[in-house]
Assembly symmetry: C2
Homo-oligomer: 305 residues x 2
């Protein structure tokens, strides 16, 4: 099953013709999650030939324009393309009010339902769950209410070793074996020991999205060991004071957090427009956490099972 | 003095990576007016190296997203770039309410003042005047309140023929000659006849912007003889019924209006995404009004004095 991240935008507040504002796609199975939606996101989706209709959930981190000014346009385009499937929208207080006002003055009655979920940006809380994954909010520390999001695949079924399975097992018993149970006789004795006929399931993958924020270690327990961590790194460490003042992070801070959390891989993004060449940001982080990459437009990262 | 139109976006509702939503720049003298501001307008301004800070006035036609979803982003960018000069914003009811809500949740206190002017979209009214030009609203017929805008240079001073000017004229008398007056003696006799010492001024140029609308002839008196008419032409004439139903126009209708109004030049825009090749739209219009062009991204039209 796919577990793949695609970057649509890497710019911080100021976009440019080459750098779009923040937007990312996380594909889990056949479902696409859009994370933030800066201006121009719908053009980026077209550029990379992503069908809008496959987007099931949209997660907005905060209400600075570079993270959501593309949302109304994307939702309008879905409407014009006659979407009918429901859309789940997650974001802080105010988002629904803004969109409702825009649609009111635009005379727009959407062809599809939006289920809006107001997220408490101050708490680590499970905000979404389906059969494939859970999503938790990750409290960030920014100038306005802001949260990241933690995406985790659910536990997967154990592998059945067909050559070792007794013929008498019923379908419900096979399901119980897949989920780790032993099979017992009516007298309560072990009939089939799970460990004898199954092997461990494929592992559950995870992605933590952290933007925009001062770098903060109190989220370490939540992001510990994730396969992929995206952390904003607006500045180089030489601008740590500016990062602190503007509630942003440096590449070195992001890398230090990644190392402490023992994540498998780090992606940097949300680059200040002052950095035409991003290499110094990458090198600064790699010196601390080698498995770091830049989250630039069009980059795709697949996490293997 | 410059009187120049630059096209930033030509798409109707659905943008694409190659066609941006509606936005135009009208430069009059050293002042830039932005007309509509679809998503991505700020990227287009960067692409064409237009300094945001030179934009003095912004005119929004209506509150369908493809005409204003780039506005909040542009205003935010002006703020981040520490603009201090005032900005005059014109648009229908609702625009200020939407922007105010967005800035509230974004925690944004702009570094510059915005003077918002709510436009009555149902009337032909003078909404702006400075020493160079006047701007009138042009009532459109669309699914939501919508107006076009008529930009007219003010009357210019007559040319003084230096070789024919008597030496005794005072500076105030010269000014009166420039504005067409004769100079009289204290007894009320003509001392200097204006026609003897001046020639006609450079002509005052005009631009009429009509989007989005059913084609309507009741604006003919207002746009009569303009140097440049932009008229939306979302569809070909073969889709006239669809144009009528959606309150849009066809290329043939726009050209017919241009011919009846005896404008000097017609620009077509706001093209439906179904037309990958725009030549049929151009040809349809040129068959009726030969001096027609396509208002495509990057095109610049200068109106000579």
């Amino acid at each position: 099953m796919d577990f793949e991240l695609k970057i649509l935008g890497s710019a911080s507040a100021l976009p440019s013709p080459d750098r779009f504002n923040t937007a990312q796609l996380l594909t889990v199975g056949n479902q696409i999650n859009l994370i933030d939606c800066g201006e121009g996101t719908q053009m980026q989706l077209m550029r990379y030939k992503v069908k809008h209709q496959r987007i099931c959930n949209i997660f907005i981190s905060h209400l600075h324009g570079d993270h959501y000014f593309g949302l109304a346009g994307l939702l309008s385009t879905m409407h014009l393309q006659q979407r009918t499937g429901p859309l789940h929208l997650f974001g802080p207080r105010g988002l629904a009010e803004i969109l409702t006002l825009q649609f009111k003055y635009g005379g727009t009655q959407l062809t599809y339902p939006i289920h809006f979920n107001e997220v408490d940006t101050t708490a680590f809380t499970k905000i979404f769950e389906d059969k494939f994954m859970t999503v938790h909010s990750l409290p960030m520390q920014h100038r306005v209410p802001c949260c990241g999001y933690l995406f985790r695949e659910k536990q997967k079924p154990r592998h059945l070793l067909k050559s070792k399975l007794p013929d008498f097992l019923t379908p419900p018993q096979l399901v119980r074996l897949k989920w780790g149970e032993d099979i017992f006789t009516e007298n309560g004795e072990v009939l089939v020991r799970n460990a004898d006929v199954t092997t461990d399931p494929k592992r559950s993958r995870s992605y933590a999205y952290c933007a925009d924020t001062r770098c903060k270690e109190d989220i370490l327990p939540y992001i510990s060991g994730v396969d992929l961590l995206y952390h904003e790194s607006t500045f180089l460490q030489e601008m740590a004071a500016r990062a602190e003042y503007t509630f942003h992070s440096t590449a070195a801070q992001a890398a230090t957090l990644a190392a402490k959390a023992q994540v498998k891989r780090l992606l940097l993004g949300h680059f200040s427009t002052r950095y035409k060449d991003l290499t110094p940001l990458l090198e600064e982080a790699q010196a601390i956490f080698p498995n770091t990459n830049l989250a630039t437009e069009g980059k795709t990262v697949s996490v293997l099972e």
